[in-house]
Structure formats: structure tokens, C-alpha cells
């Protein structure tokens, strides 16, 4: 197996003395599609600019194919083996065709080859019919397709995308996401993709890195990052809203009893008595019943009594916050909400299986 295509070694970036990126070690493997997710201001775009050689680190070094980028002598030559796409399409004034050809012309590739690759690139992104259109007449989605085509015709060894769908409306975003995924799957380009949208990361990537506060806190397969976050910050960012602090009281036959304020929870996880843990519950793992109703979910070993304190619409569901002594957030379909006659102030039972929680070991 070949080494990483890009690597950061003991890299730090500071702006006006403020540390915005701290990456002791960070590697991108060939063919990897890495989504870098994190809240605004986490340092994602800085990381991307560093990997794209668009800015240098304050400390540490960037390696491309095992060699420090400075050792290539000509940074431009390394940069020309990559291509970047940003949130704004940033097209130049002119035709679509001329924009798609821009990077190739900068590399002084001969006209016949430029023309061939431009036609192919426009066809791949479904913008062949726009070839002669002026870029300022394009819609947001069309412009972003031109921007993607302009980068992809360069046949880059590393493809860097900084929130390319963030400014698009949901249907346009979805269409472009599907097309881009097909292209990346087919061409197996090493891709680093920055987003704050968890669903985009899940749809496009085969690895996810979670960045918070300038540090990469977890990097793993998307399913694992979302199901098994390594710490509380990652857990909160990947959508786990109920995080209960407790300690392991006892363990018997693979089932641990974890004491959280006011409750003893049964959790199926390899734990040691006395250990301090965080019990993480996704909203969709929790089922709600009106208090006094007969529970049909016999395997829900944990049943917490409480009162609904608020509910917020979220598409076809409600996000319901229940005060059980600890706050628990559950998702309920609108239909169930009405059928169960739930309302703010209603007394309910929040039930979940012993296998539902993800447990984070506290230091």
C-alpha cells in the first residue's frame, strides 16, 4: 500500500497570535473521499487551504507524496496537481466554455486537448448546452456546476471542495450532490470536502474528520463517527442531543447499570464498575408513550418518567424535550404526536433499549 498523498506534520496556524489550527498529525490516503465537518470557525477552511497549498503553516510542514512541499522547489508545480472549488462559484466574466477551459489554459495545454477535455467536462456535469452562455446569466446551481467542471477537467490528483453546496437551494444541492458522488466514485479522485452539513458528509465521503476549535477530534468511517463519537464535543456536533453524565454501578452478563441523576440505566456495553461515563442517546432511539399507557416495546429496558417541556417542528417530525430530572430529547412523528395526544406539559414515558446508548468513557 502506498503512503499518504498529503500529510500534515506538527502543523500550527496562527492569525494575529491566535491559534486557529493545530494538527499534530493528519494524513490523506490516495483515493480517500474525506469530509471535514465541524461548526463555523472550527478551522475547516484553514485546513483545506493548507492542504491545497493556498497558504502555508505558521509551524510544521506539509508533505505531498511523502516529500515536504518546499522540497519540490516550485510550489506552483505541486499546486497544479490539485484543484479547488469554493462555496461561491467565482467564475470569470466570459462564456461557460472559456471558464471551464481556464485552468487548462493556465497550464498552457494545447488547444485541441483543451477543447476535448472541456467538451467532456461540460458533458459530465450536464452543462454542455450552456457552453456559449455568459457566466453572469447563470443560476447558482449552473454556476457551481461550471466551477466543478472547471476543476475536474484538470484531472487533479487532489480535489479540494470548500462548502460547494452551501449557497444552493435544497433541490439544486441534492441534484448536484448525486452527480458529484457519481463522478467521484467513478474517477476515484482523492477528495477533501469541507462542510458543516452532516448529511452531505454522509452522502459523499468514505471518511469523516470532525474539527472543533482548530483540532481534528475524530477521523473515521462516517457510520462510526456518527454512531460512536469519541467525546462529548463530537457527540453534540454529530446530532446527539441527550448526553447524560453518570458512573457504572455494576456489571452483570454484559449489561451494565449506570447511575445518572435520578435514574439507574441499563446499558449493553463493556464497562467496568466505578467507571465515569457519558451516556449518549440519539433522539430517534427514544420512544415516547403517554404515562399509564401499556408499553408495547418489551425490549425497552429503560423507562424514564417525565413531562414534555417543549416541542419543535422538524420536517415531518417533532423534536420533543422531556424533563425526567435530566433533559432528554426524542423525535416523534407528527402522526404519533397527535395519536398519542401529546402536548407540552403532558406526562410521558421515555423508553429506550439497553443497546441504544453509545457510551463515552470519561478520563
Amino acid at each position: 500500500m502506498s503512503g499518504p498523498i498529503l500529510c500534515l506534520e506538527r502543523v500550527k496556524v496562527t492569525y494575529d497570535g491566535m491559534l486557529v489550527l493545530d494538527a499534530p498529525s493528519f494524513e490523506i490516503q490516495e483515493g480517500q473521499i474525506l469530509a471535514v465537518i465541524g461548526p463555523n470557525g472550527a478551522g475547516k477552511s484553514t485546513l483545506l487551504r493548507l492542504l491545497g497549498l493556498l497558504e502555508g503553516p505558521t509551524e510544521g510542514r506539509v508533505l505531498f507524496r511523502g516529500q515536504p512541499v518546499q522540497s519540490y522547489g516550485n510550489l506552483l508545480a505541486v499546486r497544479r496537481r490539485m484543484a479547488s472549488v469554493f462555496q461561491e462559484p467565482l467564475l470569470t466574466d466570459g462564456t461557460v466554455e472559456a471558464n471551464v477551459a481556464l485552468g487548462l489554459r493556465l497550464r498552457r495545454i494545447d488547444s485541441v486537448e483543451v477543447n476535448r477535455r472541456v467538451q467532456e467536462g461540460m458533458a459530465t456535469l450536464g452543462i454542455g448546452h450552456l457552453a456559449k452562455r455568459r457566466t453572469r446569466t447563470l443560476s447558482g446551481g449552473e454556476a457551481q456546476r461550471v466551477s466543478l467542471a472547471r476543476a475536474l477537467v484538470l484531472d487533479p490528483e487532489v480535489f479540494l471542495l470548500d462548502e460547494p453546496f452551501a449557497a444552493l437551494d435544497p433541490p439544486t444541492r441534492e441534484g448536484l450532490l448525486v452527480d458529484l458522488k457519481a463522478i467521484l466514485d467513478k474517477r476515484r479522485i482523492t477528495t477533501i470536502f469541507v462542510t458543516h452539513d452532516r448529511n452531505e458528509a454522509l452522502a459523499l465521503s468514505n471518511q469523516v474528520a470532525v474539527m472543533i476549535g482548530g483540532r481534528v477530534l475524530q477521523i473515521d468511517m462516517p457510520e462510526r463517527v456518527f454512531a460512536e463519537p469519541l467525546n462529548e464535543e463530537v457527540a453534540r456536533f454529530v446530532g446527539i442531543e441527550t448526553i447524560l453524565r453518570g458512573h457504572v454501578q455494576s456489571v452483570s452478563q454484559g449489561l451494565a447499570t449506570v447511575e445518572v441523576p435520578g435514574w439507574a440505566l441499563e446499558v449493553a456495553a463493556p464497562l467496568t464498575p466505578g467507571e465515569r461515563v457519558l451516556v449518549c442517546l440519539r433522539p430517534e432511539e427514544i420512544t415516547l408513550f403517554p404515562r399509564g399507557a401499556t408499553l408495547t416495546t418489551s425490549s425497552a429496558r429503560n423507562q424514564l418518567y417525565g413531562r414534555v417541556i417543549r416541542h419543535l417542528p422538524a420536517g415531518s417530525t417533532y423534536r420533543v424535550t422531556i424533563d425526567c430530572g435530566v433533559l432528554i430529547v426524542a423525535t416523534v412523528t407528527r402522526q404519533s404526536w397527535e395519536q398519542l395526544d401529546l402536548h407540552d406539559g403532558a406526562e410521558v414515558v421515555a423508553a429506550f433499549k439497553a443497546t441504544a446508548p453509545h457510551v463515552i468513557h470519561c478520563a
Binding site: 487551504r49 469554493f86 467565482l90 470569470t92 493556465l106 484538470l154
Partner: protein
């Protein structure tokens, strides 16, 4: 009103008959102001681009100075260029005073800051992320500058028009460093003043109309170049 009407009629006749002196004055104006504008572009565009794109201590002050220079009174420019070009001045050995070259130099001092200041504004009004995008597509430093200037070509043409407009219409500097010498340094503005002071209003109006026509012709051409292929 009668005076203006008579003057205008005689002016049109002068123009139709192609008075050689009037034509000579017009060509010298075009040559001097055109050269000064061209030189101001050669200096102002690179300087303005550097000021717009680079970061260095004192950059803010430098831009403020350029912006102040955009409003330099031509008479003041004329005075200082004269002092420099006097026989006893630092550049006196060049013996340029009262030559068309002296007018070009003075007009360059007037148009230079206009072109530089408007170039700074033209480049700075571009999306700042465009520069990074171009680098991200593999553009070299020179290619980035070329593409940014190409993107800013509309406001840059406006800078060209403003620079030309500033020098073709000024009188103080041309009078002071050129001396308004017959058949040598007489340009449209200085000649208009002279003919007016002599009471030759037909000639003065003819020269004024020519100045307006010249400015209009140059600006129509530049506007056509600026606006072609653009729809509102």
C-alpha cells in the same frame, strides 16, 4: 446670445475649411494628453495593482496619498514641475521647459494619481476570494494579476477615461510649463484662453468645440470598447 451665435457660426466655418492652425493645435493636444495618459496607465496600473493586492507597512498612507493626488490642482502641479525644469532646477539640464515634453510630464503628474487611485478601487472591488480561486486553479502570480486586471477591465477603462479627461481639460499646468508658444506648445485649452483674452470669440468657440469633440470622440470609443457584448 448674439455673440455666441456668431461665434459658433464662424467656428463651424473654421472647422469646415480645416484651418491649419486649429488642426495643428488639436493634434498637439491629442498627442500631448494621449501620451501623458498612456504613460500614466503604464505607471498607474502596476502601482495601483500592487497597492490593492499587497500588504506592507504604510500601505494605508500610500493609498491616502494617491487619493489626495487625484485632486491635485493643475496650477500647483504646473508650478512644481516648472521649478524642477527651470534651468537652475534639479532637472534643468534636460532643457525641457516650454516644450511639449514638459506638458506631458506635468499632465503625467495629474493623470498618474487618478489612474493609480482608480486602479486600486477597481482591483479592490473584485471578490477577494477570486484571487484564491485563481491560485487554486494553478495560476502563477503573473497569471493571477493578468486575470484580475482582465476582470476589472470595465472600471479600468473608466480610469483611463478619467485620466484622459483630467489632462485634456486642464489649463494651469500646460500654461505654466508649456508657455503657450505659437506653433510649439499651444494646446486647445491654452489657445482658447488666449483667443478669449484677445476678443477673438469665434476662434475661442471653435477651439472649445474642438476640445469637446475630441473628448467626446475619445470617450465614445472607450465606452464602446467598455460596453460591447454587455447587456443590462
Amino acid at each position: 446670445m448674439e455673440l455666441i451665435w456668431q461665434g459658433t457660426k464662424q467656428a463651424v466655418l473654421l472647422l469646415i475649411h480645416g484651418d491649419p492652425e486649429v488642426l495643428r493645435i488639436m493634434l498637439l493636444s491629442l498627442q500631448v494628453s494621449g501620451t501623458a495618459t498612456l504613460l500614466s496607465l503604464l505607471i498607474g496600473i502596476p502601482l495601483g495593482t500592487i497597492l490593492a493586492l499587497s500588504r506592507f507597512p504604510g500601505r494605508g498612507i500610500a493609498i491616502s496619498l494617491v487619493n489626495t493626488g487625484m485632486g491635485l490642482p493643475p496650477v500647483v502641479v504646473g508650478l512644481f514641475v516648472s521649478i524642477f525644469l527651470w534651468r537652475s532646477g534639479p532637472l534643468g539640464f534636460l532643457e525641457l521647459l516650454y516644450t511639449p515634453t514638459a506638458i506631458v510630464l506635468a499632465q503625467l503628474v495629474i493623470a498618474g494619481p487618478v489612474v493609480t487611485g482608480l486602479t486600486v478601487a477597481a482591483v479592490q472591488q473584485l471578490n477577494p476570494r477570486l484571487r484564491m480561486q485563481l491560485v487554486g486553479l494553478g495560476a502563477s502570480r503573473l497569471q493571477v494579476v493578468y486575470l484580475l486586471l482582465k476582470e476589472a477591465r470595465l472600471p479600468l477603462l473608466a480610469a483611463l477615461m478619467a485620466g484622459f479627461g483630467a489632462v485634456v481639460s486642464e489649463i494651469g499646468a500646460s500654461m505654466m510649463v508649456g508657455g503657450n508658444i505659437y506653433r510649439q506648445t499651444r494646446v486647445l485649452t491654452t489657445a482658447t484662453v488666449l483667443e478669449t483674452s484677445r476678443g477673438n470669440f469665434d476662434m475661442a468657440i471653435a477651439l472649445s468645440l474642438l476640445l469637446l469633440l475630441l473628448t467626446f470622440g475619445v470617450n465614445v470609443t472607450l465606452t464602446w470598447i467598455q460596453q460591447r457584448g454587455r447587456t443590462p
